[in-house]
Subunit: 394 residues, 2 copies
């Protein structure tokens, strides 16, 4: 995966563990239009605060990413560390420090190993090439079991425009932007305003609709860099057809990455789509879908392959959204297990249980109360989730 | 445990399993002042709906309780089943049907085994005696590993007033009344208005401050019956000293029962108190404490005996309450692990880790921003929680 004009590199800097890729760099030959979306958690890691400030200019030239340490809750020293590592990269690359975005993931509350990053910088910069995108995707992994990348291309006017993206996820994932790290590169020619709008809209319907455990992190962010190398007709205000094509393609790529995160949720054995329709408003549908998707009791039932729809309806009931329980239908794939609030008996349950043995399960909840629909994507809650999170730091 | 004027009984009716106490009865010789608090879940089981309606009269004479079936999401048949079993008890007891409260716990969505209950009624009523309180406490258990009872006595005026209570809990427990079944009997002489007020106020600071898994049930309720046999000076409007004594004693009993529920949380290995102080308002303190107490990542870290305070501060950050992260102190028992938002280093972490090996842990979070304080009680999130809930119905 590559986009003309961008180079990438990754090295094992020994930030937390030896001999493990943990430092990545994305570099553009020139400053390019860059937009970001950041965690809504009130406690923001130093690099998040720094990046948000720097991105007011709407431009960047490099992204320095480390795993092994979140650099969150680290006070003034944490901010100095973020600035220092950014400056080190800027110097090595011969660019302005403000053009560097910093991104960190890992344990909260520990000071960043600045000297390890400084020491690794010459090798990192020397390794920059068009072909290391997958290496960077590996370097940003924490409890992820696989690296996550996706690419798309689309015609805008007469030109083919390309997108490549990477993401990391696994734990601390819950709707409410931004719940992981993701980086997208494109050669589209687009204004900052359009790029930023497309990103926020896309995130709302993709990354903000996935949940692993209901927790949101201090560090999460998604950045999109657009260098214009495709030479497509400018996507700017007024060019609404092009904007739509761009939006759809970006959103499709974001959804691909978001669903990869769910499929690789910590300890996950099932991929579950909760689709709520027939709500009065889309917002209501989303709220119910989220409450169901975050219920520990629902998630453990899926792990146990138990068609325990009572837990689904109980979770719906505490969502805060008004609905009529006597009108609710629930289906697992195409098996209707609840109709008008009533269980459909042993046979339906047997068929539903068979479906729960699959890896991908669609739960459809129909409130029959309006046209509001929404999907939220989640995974089951397994013994391994507890194991992974009981000794994450060791 | 007994209160003069009340009789109790329990039998194995075979509602779901054979040879297991699953049907209980509490009976008062005369109709007595009775107050209730009920689940806030929008999806309410048939007996909850029935009881709420009947308790408008402020009186009851019997409580019929079954485990093994929640009689929730069972439609008209469910309501007919609740009414029928209540009538069966009323006839056997020779009292008016409206004087019977019904309470069910177990799997949602299955029809109640009415014939099993009807068949067991003669034996149940025949067994009524002053000495079976503990048997009823056993009959209401589901995934509970121990039965939960408590008693108190207090002087009101010249008379000694007595309280006995029982509860069941284990899963689907989360603040927002009412998150389990609990029944309290007292010989206090008190008006309905004062009893109801004392119950709601007491529940707010006890049962509404515990959480196992963030889920709330369709069935939960607490009922208090007061028969006046103690002959204490009437607790009524104007008798505010007596009201205070009554309130404190009832609340103390409720807290005892509530904490027993947490200690017996599904799969729990730790009892954790999250105390938030220094908030602008008590409501804010409570909101933060709840968010931390419900975080799967925090709870799995406690299970792993990992002093991972980063997860605590990350959960605080998504609570929706504004606070200054740079001012936050966090202590495990008396070990300060975070001061002004910064980790206190390896030594403090080592001491904190030692504390995490205990069964009872107090986490104190100081926001240093005001006088609002609140405590929420929870347990850790263990491998056994997942195991229990993955095959609850089998």
């Amino acid at each position: 995966m590559k986009i003309k004009g961008f180079k990438t590199a990754a090295v094992a800097a020994g930030i937390r563990y030896a001999d493990r890729l943990d430092l990545g760099l994305i570099f553009s030959e020139t400053p390019v239009v860059t937009a970001g979306a950041f965690t809504t958690n009130q406690v923001k890691a130093a690099p998040v605060v720094l990046d948000m400030e720097r991105l007011k200019q709407g431009k960047a030239q490099a992204i320095l990413i480390n795993s092994g340490c979140a650099n969150a809750c680290t006070g003034e020293n944490g901010m100095l560390a973020a600035i220092a590592t950014g400056e080190c990269a800027a110097t090595a690359l011969g660019i302005a420090p403000e053009m560097v975005q910093i991104s960190s993931t890992g344990v909260i509350g520990e000071q960043l190993n600045v000297s390890a990053i400084v020491k690794a910088m010459p090798e990192l910069v020397a390794k920059l090439s068009a072909d290391n995108f997958d290496q960077v995707a590996k370097a940003i992994m924490t409890t992820d079991t696989v690296s996550k990348t996706a690419s798309r291309s689309v015609m805008i006017g007469e030109q083919e425009v390309h997108f490549v993206g990477m993401a990391k996820g696994a734990g601390m994932i819950m709707p409410n932007m931004a719940t992981m790290l993701a980086f997208v590169l494109t050669d589209a020619q687009i204004s900052f305003r359009q790029l930023h709008g497309a990103l926020l809209k896309g995130v709302e319907r993709t990354f903000n609709r996935i949940t692993i455990d209901g927790d949101t992190s201090t560090n999460d962010m998604i950045l999109v860099m657009a260098n214009g190398a495709a030479g497509n007709p400018w996507i700017d205000e007024g060019a609404s057809d092009y904007q739509d094509i761009f939006q759809q393609t970006l959103e499709d790529l974001l959804k691909d990455l978001a669903l990869q995160i769910v499929a690789d949720g910590e300890g996950a054995t099932k991929f579950i789509t909760i689709r709520v329709c027939g709500a009065r408003e889309e917002m209501d549908a989303e709220q119910i879908a989220r409450t169901v998707a975050n219920s520990s009791l629902v998630k453990t039932a899926f792990f146990g392959e138990d068609a325990n729809w009572g837990r689904i309806i109980a979770a719906m009931g505490r969502s805060g959204v008004r609905f009529c329980p006597e009108r609710v239908d629930i289906a697992f794939d195409d098996v209707v297990i609840v109709e008008n609030g009533l269980g459909q008996g042993k046979e339906a349950e047997k068929s539903a249980t068979a479906i729960l043995k699959e890896k991908n399960i669609l739960v459809t909840i129909d409130l029959k109360d309006g046209r509001g629909c929404a999907e939220v994507y989640t995974c089951d809650f397994s013994i391994d989730y507890v194991k992974i999170n009981a000794d994450y730091r060791s």
